[in-house]
């Protein structure tokens, strides 16, 4: 379940029943090309505020399955533990999300409840729940997602900006490269061959970043190059408009708005190019 956060939440966390046992069914894989298996572990919830990460930590200290077999500790990625770095993304009970903000009280409020954990499927598995998301960073380079400043010497401030423009850019700029939008996208597929990345669909995350930099006074300078890249194969026209991306984005980034805006810009760009020859 993906908890939607509003200023006035309608859901409250159920009270913690300390001491209850929760089962974790975890998809394991020893490395690229190796087969996947499932292990199930039991974790006793002995602290308030337990989340998937705190349970994985408990399992790591003593990884014994429900059958009593000692296994290797489960491998997973994490960093900030407060849903701002994007590292800990995985598929929890069938839904892609961050494991640090996945509270056990929400997912498994009762004795014996089970939670399943799987790695994302659109990125190559490194080991267990850890995947390789280098392609997302590659796509940022592909779209020149930066402001081409003249260097770091003191040259005064940046352009003035209205609060409205700032708010729009800020919202886009909170993207933490987590990959949820890509995992959920029917048009974005696993591609292990890096040489094919430049012609495969870039996905909502990178398109939205292109919009972010095209909006900035100085960032605009590279807009033609960004739009060129988004005109070609794997560009914005590969989006099938299913809107899955926007539904799973933990930062509530208006991805479909970005896709529409970039789509329009690409069309205009194509027309201009056509007339200029």
């Amino acid at each position: 379940m993906i908890a939607t956060i509003s200023a006035n939440p309608t859901h409250a966390t159920p009270p913690t029943k300390l001491g209850r046992k929760v089962r974790f069914r975890i998809k394991r894989c020893e490395g690229p090309g190796k087969p996947s298996t499932w292990n199930t572990y039991t974790v006793t919830i002995d602290q308030k505020g337990a989340n998937v990460i705190s349970c994985l930590q408990q399992i790591a200290a003593n990884p014994v399955t429900v059958e009593g077999t000692r296994t290797t500790p489960v491998v997973w990625d994490s960093g900030c533990l407060e849903e701002v770095c994007g590292a800990c993304t995985m598929v929890i009970n069938g839904k892609v999300r961050q494991s640090c903000s996945a509270l056990i009280d929400h997912l498994a409020p009762n004795e014996g409840d089970e939670i399943s954990l799987e790695p994302m499927s659109k990125f190559p598995v490194i080991r267990d729940l850890s995947v390789d998301r280098q392609r997302m960073f590659h796509n940022l380079a592909r779209l020149k997602a930066w402001v081409p400043i003249d260097g770091t010497y003191a040259l005064g401030g940046g352009p003035k900006e209205s609060p409205e423009a700032q708010e729009t850019r800020y919202a886009l700029s909170t993207c933490m490269t987590c990959g949820c939008c890509l995992e959920a996208c029917p048009q974005f597929n696993l591609e292990t061959d890096a040489s094919k990345w430049d012609s495969s669909f870039v996905g909502a995350q990178a398109i939205s970043q292109a919009r972010l930099f095209n909006m900035h006074e100085t960032g605009k300078e590279l807009a033609p190059a960004r739009l060129d890249a988004l005109m070609g194969p794997g560009g914005v026209s590969d989006c099938g408009n299913s809107q899955n991306c926007v539904k799973v984005c933990p930062k509530h980034i208006p991805l479909t708005e970005s896709i529409a805006a970039v789509g329009r810009a690409v069309t205009l760009h194509a027309i201009t190019k056509f007339f200029r020859g």
């Binding site: 337990a50 990884p63 960093g79 407060e82 020149k144």
Partner: protein, 658 residues
């Protein structure tokens, strides 16, 4: 600019400090190899919420100045920081904000389109710039983008998911590092003409803290074992307001107080009424009552100790537990949403309660390390005949800010450790914050190190290093020796897998958990001789157990247990230094508060604690070395505290520095 031969610089760490250094050094034409255990964009710096300080035009016209920012930082740090570097940092701050602005950081705006400002602890002026409630994330993204740009141009090579293991030091000079690929587990040496450590803080030594899970301090500990001095290890900042959690203590940013948040407890012990039902007169706004001038925005160490004493000594914690209210419910929800949405969302998400309608429940948590690798500097041109008295807030500054007043720009020893060519930038640098860091000054010090001291690194490589053999021409022996040392360590650890059954005593995770609990109890808000000695003997026990640590994973691919177990050994040594520094510093200053030495003792301890490791015994020793206090005279640090109200006057602890 032409590339300078084959000279290279290694930057270890891709947080704000490491990325700023990378961009600056790459821009100067030197090749940079950038190492990080996570993709740099996911570094701990993303966690910073509140903002970044700098003098600005609005504050300036109200009487604020770079000089006052400098003065606040020295006073806030309880006169422990070397003063010249702090002056330079404050002078540079406005330039740094301008640069970030040009890079596209979406700083909040006023209706006219200028950068908006907020109030933060330790100042009476609005001087904190912010981007929503995720300033650190926004700043590091801007630097990440510039780094990616240089990477695309071939000027920077990233080694992400590579762990720094040891510096290569030849003839007293850093000439490279040995690192391990965290996927293939390959260990290899990298050559460089200078090495910049920008590996952040050490919150994990305390088990749970506000830090990211990667902030083990192991990288710094490895340099320290290789002979680098560690400065002020005992200066650990405990943030007053965090949300207790099972895996981490999540920060509730100081900006919640800056935007009007009020800290209170029910006046009556054991009052179990819902906060809403407690009338104003029956609420004890203890910070406002005790510090009428600064109220809720007193600096962190003071707020922390007051909250701690309200709960632990007075037993006034909410619901009888160790927690107090941080209340924003009197503020307009739309305003809050605009200014604080990000952090309030964190509370809602992790505490499961609505902070717009219910006061938040918070308690102090370990947050930041003022201490770190000890570094040097060349003082700048401002050298008054006599140190001045504390600056009167809002009065004209004695000097106009100019480059080079505090530190000499480009001097090769700026931010260099005692090992030539080995630099420390950002949180891992012990400089600037003294005994207590002011809110929103850390991001500044990270960027300042990268941008200002980055020039020193480039100069060192260009002008000083060439008189010695360039790293690329050095014999392989030095590199092989360190590589073999690290391979042997790994082999040793891996050989313990499957030796006997699961045993709590030799389990790295259990040792780490016990370490965290011990350090949190003995080395945070209040310390004492007896408790610290007890802590030292516990550390001795843990080290003994660690010597027989057993791993649960023999894999030669993405072996996280190996990495973690190795880091636990390093954390134990950082803990040793923290404990000994705490014990030897027989005074109270800033974040360091001794119940048995409640006063600040400038004659004996207005000095840097210099910790070093005796290589033979691996024991820590500390000495106290003089600081540069040539600009501002020390004075009592009271923040205008008045006597507490009658009900708690008797139990009122003496504020540090009084």
């Amino acid at each position: 600019m032409a590339a300078a031969g084959n000279q290279r610089v290694i930057v270890v760490g891709g947080g704000l400090a490491g990325l700023a250094a990378t961009v600056r050094i790459a821009e100067s034409g030197l090749a940079v190899d950038l190492f990080s255990v996570v993709p740099v964009k996911r570094s701990h710096s993303v966690c910073a919420q509140g903002g970044i300080n700098a003098c600005n035009e609005v504050a300036r016209q109200q009487g604020y100045s770079e000089y006052e920012h400098f003065d606040e930082t020295i006073y806030g740090g309880d006169f422990l920081a070397d003063q010249h570097p702090v002056l330079e940092m404050a002078n540079w701050a406005p330039k740094i904000i301008d640069l970030l602005d040009r890079m596209g950081v979406p700083f909040n705006r006023t209706s006219e389109g200028y950068r908006d400002l907020r109030l933060f602890g330790g100042s009476l002026f609005k001087r904190t710039h912010f981007a929503g409630a995720t300033t650190g994330q926004q700043l590091i993204y801007a630097l990440d983008e510039q780094t990616r740009r240089y990477e695309s141009e071939g000027k920077v090579t990233k080694y992400e998911f590579w762990e720094f293991l040891w510096p290569v030091i030849e003839d007293g000079r850093a000439v490279g590092i040995v690192a391990q690929d965290m996927r293939t587990m390959q260990i290899r040496a990298f050559r460089a003409d200078a090495v910049v450590m920008a590996t952040g803080g050490c919150g994990l030594v305390y088990g749970k803290s506000t830090n990211s899970i990667i902030c083990t301090g192991a990288a710094a500990a490895r340099c320290y074992q290789a002979g680098v001095h560690y400065g002020n290890p005992e200066m650990i900042q405990v943030h007053p307001t965090a949300i207790p959690g099972a895996d981490k203590l999540r920060l509730m940013s100081e900006s919640a107080r800056g935007e009007g948040g009020r800290v209170w407890v029910p006046r009556k012990k054991g009052d179990m009424r819902a906060p809403r039902d407690i009338p104003d007169a029956e609420r004890y706004y203890f910070l406002e009552e005790r510090y009428p001038k600064y109220g809720n925005i007193v600096p962190r160490d003071i707020a922390t100790r007051e909250i701690f004493s309200i709960c632990v000594d007075d037993g006034l914690g909410v619901s009888g537990e160790n927690q107090v209210y941080l209340d924003l419910t009197h503020r307009d929800p739309d305003y809050l949403k605009r200014k604080l949405e990000g952090i309030l969302e964190i509370y809602e998400k992790f505490a499961g309660e609505d902070p717009y309608r219910n006061p938040m429940k918070i308690f102090p948590a370990v947050h930041y390390s003022m201490g770190g690798l000890w570094t040097t500097f060349t003082p700048g041109s401002y050298n008054p005949a006599q140190a001045r008295h504390k600056h009167k807030s809002g009065s004209p500054a004695p000097i106009d800010a100019k480059v080079g007043q505090g530190m000499q720009l480009g001097a090769i020893n700026n931010a260099m450790t005692n090992i030539e060519g080995l630099y420390a930038f950002g949180e891992v640098n012990f400089a600037y914050h003294g005994a207590n860091r002011l809110g929103a000054n850390a991001l500044l010090s990270c960027l300042f190190d990268g941008l200002f001291c980055g020039v020193s690194v480039a100069n060192y490589v260009r002008n000083a290093a060439p008189s010695k053999a360039p790293a690329e021409s050095l014999p392989a022996a030095a590199y092989e020796r360190v590589t073999q040392q690290e391979e042997a360590k790994v082999k040793n650890l891996l050989s313990t897998v499957n030796q006997g059954n699961y045993d709590e005593k030799t389990n790295a995770y259990v040792i780490h958990r016990e370490l965290g609990v011990e350090m949190t109890t003995a080395c945070t808000v209040v310390k004492s001789d007896a408790r610290l000695r007890q802590c030292q003997s516990k550390l001795g026990e843990l080290k003994g157990r660690y010597a027989n640590v057993k791993l649960g994973d023999a894999a030669g691919w993405t072996n996280q247990s190996l990495s973690f177990a190795r880091a636990v050994g390093d954390m134990l040594l950082v803990a040793d230094a923290i404990a000994l520094g705490s014990l030897e510093r027989k005074e109270s200053r800033g974040a360091h508060y001794r119940t048995d030495y409640k006063d600040r003792d400038d004659a004996n301890f207005m000095k840097t604690t210099l910790a070093s490791l005796k290589p033979e015994t691996r024991d820590v020793s500390v000495q106290f070395v003089p600081i540069d206090a040539s600009l501002i005279l020390p004075e009592a640090r009271t923040y205008g505290k008045v006597a507490a109200d009658a009900t708690s006057a008797a139990k009122q602890p003496v504020a540090a520095g009084v």
